[in-house]
């Protein structure tokens, strides 16, 4: 994968600089894996999706080359040069030429509790300002998440950025819908809109405590809703308290 990213980035760079002819040669350098079909037959589809028509069927015991993968679809080539896309589920029931079972990594029901990483896009309200949020989390255990997020705050009178890091405890990660608690801290930068008030930018540290609900949409996606209560440690006499509500669409792997 890393190799392919590198080669493709190189290919992109080449294409951009006008030396596009070198690109396909670079992209094809990774030697394709081979598998032997064990199902009665395997359908080759014309495109990477369930709606594409099956154009050819490969028999049991035939050897196919795995060329590239897009989401759950793998492009394969038969011995006689026919190409098509096969679903991951069908390739799970193949063997390597040496007779070992083939695994094609992908989401399974277990991944709800066994996944490590989460990445989410969210939006919400931070004390009256709109929020655009990017969130990341690492699951130390299924119950305990280490989280970090960056938020762009867009208000009527001021804009700002908020970066936080924290931990969250998920009460029942095995449930379809589970509540969670989170605490953390971070840095808040606010710049008042120049047209309205003559004030300087200010950067303060902040801490939050919050609670939320998360629910699995599929074996890959989560929907999270969260409330956080922030305390902003201002340089003025009084600290500021701000409430935040967010909803985030999260992918886990």
């Amino acid at each position: 994968m890393k190799q392919s990213i590198k080669s493709t980035l190189l290919a992109c760079a080449l294409a951009l600089t006008g030396a596009g002819a070198g690109a396909p040669a670079l992209a094809a350098k990774v030697p394709p894996a081979k598998v032997v079909v064990q199902d009665p037959f395997v359908d080759l589809r014309s495109g990477p999706g369930r709606g594409f028509p099956a154009t050819y069927s490969v028999e049991r015991e035939a050897t196919i080359e795995l060329l590239r993968r897009r989401t759950d679809w793998i492009k394969v080539r038969t011995d006689d040069g026919r190409e098509g896309w096969v679903n991951r589920s069908q390739l799970e029931r193949t063997l390597t030429p040496g007779g070992a079972p083939v695994t094609i990594p992908g989401p399974k029901p277990e991944s709800r509790t066994e996944h490590r990483w989460e990445v989410g896009l969210g939006t919400g309200d931070f004390g009256g300002a709109n929020v655009v949020a990017v969130q990341g989390a690492y699951a130390i255990t299924p119950n305990l998440l280490v989280r970090a997020d960056a938020q762009h705050l867009l208000g009527n009178f001021s804009n700002g950025w908020l970066a936080t890091a924290g931990i969250a405890h998920v009460f029942a990660p095995q449930w379809r819908v589970s509540p969670f608690l989170g605490i953390g801290g971070g840095v808040l930068t606010i710049s008042p809109k120049a047209t309205l008030v003559q004030a300087e930018d200010r950067t303060d540290s902040t801490a939050y405590a919050g609670l939320g609900v998360r629910g699995f949409l599929t074996n890959r996606f989560l929907l999270q809703a969260e409330y956080r209560s922030y305390v902003v440690f201002t340089s003025r006499d009084e600290n500021e308290e701000i409430d935040e509500w967010t909803v985030a669409f999260t992918y886990f792997f």
Binding site: F52, R68, P105, V132
Partner: protein
């Protein structure tokens, strides 16, 4: 009385917990006394097999550049260009990040009055970013001549982001639709329409501005 009962129970519990330990220790002692070079009655015939994930080039990322026209409300149409990157979660869903920039023109008022400029040159720069979720609603194939079929999809996106225009950042909601054509397995062409919506009070009163963009982009999967 209660206390006595507790002590009794705890002792019983302790004893039962300790017993298997003693038994185990005894068993271990006995087995260590046996000759260590005892031949195995049954040789295990099953070899341990290492299951390795198939080495396939996974191409779920997509990145590229776009160019198009954006109609900035009250400020005419301008050329817009930028970059986009996407990650395809499934054949149906993807996430997309877009950055773009355009130079806004003049309002009709500025044109008619001649001299009065509402914005400075740098304030006229319209720059945005957008994070969106996309849905490949209508996948299909496009036939080019009689021999070539290229996978395609009509998709819809919904996103949120920020637009830096007229000296301020504005929270922007973006809705769009596009057509993606896979020219080869890893090169795609997009033709898409986006509506960037944000609140602006630039011309005196608060209103929701609609900024429509039509663009053509070239992307690569990797």
């Amino acid at each position: 009385m209660d206390r006595g009962l507790h002590v009794l129970l705890l002792t019983a519990l302790g004893a039962t917990a300790a017993l298997p330990g003693i038994a185990h220790a005894q068993a271990a002692g006995e087995s260590s006394a046996l000759p260590t070079q005892q031949p195995q009655v049954v040789e295990p015939a099953v070899k341990r097999r290492d299951v390795e994930p198939a080495a396939i080039d996974t191409e779920n990322f997509e990145a590229g550049l776009f160019v198009g026209t954006i109609s900035i409300e009250d400020f005419g149409s301008s050329v817009v260009y930028g970059a986009r990157a996407a990650y395809h979660f499934t054949e149906d869903l993807f996430a997309e990040a877009t950055v773009g920039t355009a130079k806004a023109g003049k309002t009709s008022y500025e044109d008619l009055s001649g001299a009065a400029n509402l914005l400075t040159d740098s304030e006229r720069q319209y720059t945005y970013y957008d994070l969106a979720i996309g849905w490949n609603a209508l996948p299909g194939e496009v036939f080019f001549g009689g021999k070539r079929a290229m996978p395609s999809a009509v998709y819809f996106t919904l996103g949120a982001g920020s637009t830096d225009f007229a000296g301020d950042d504005h929270f922007t909601v973006t809705v769009g639709s596009g057509f993606r054509l896979l020219v080869t397995d890893w090169v795609a062409l997009h033709l898409d329409v986006r509506n960037h919506m944000f609140d602006s009070d630039l011309l005196g009163k608060d209103k929701l501005t609609q900024n429509l963009q039509v663009g053509l982009s070239l992307t690569a999967f990797f």
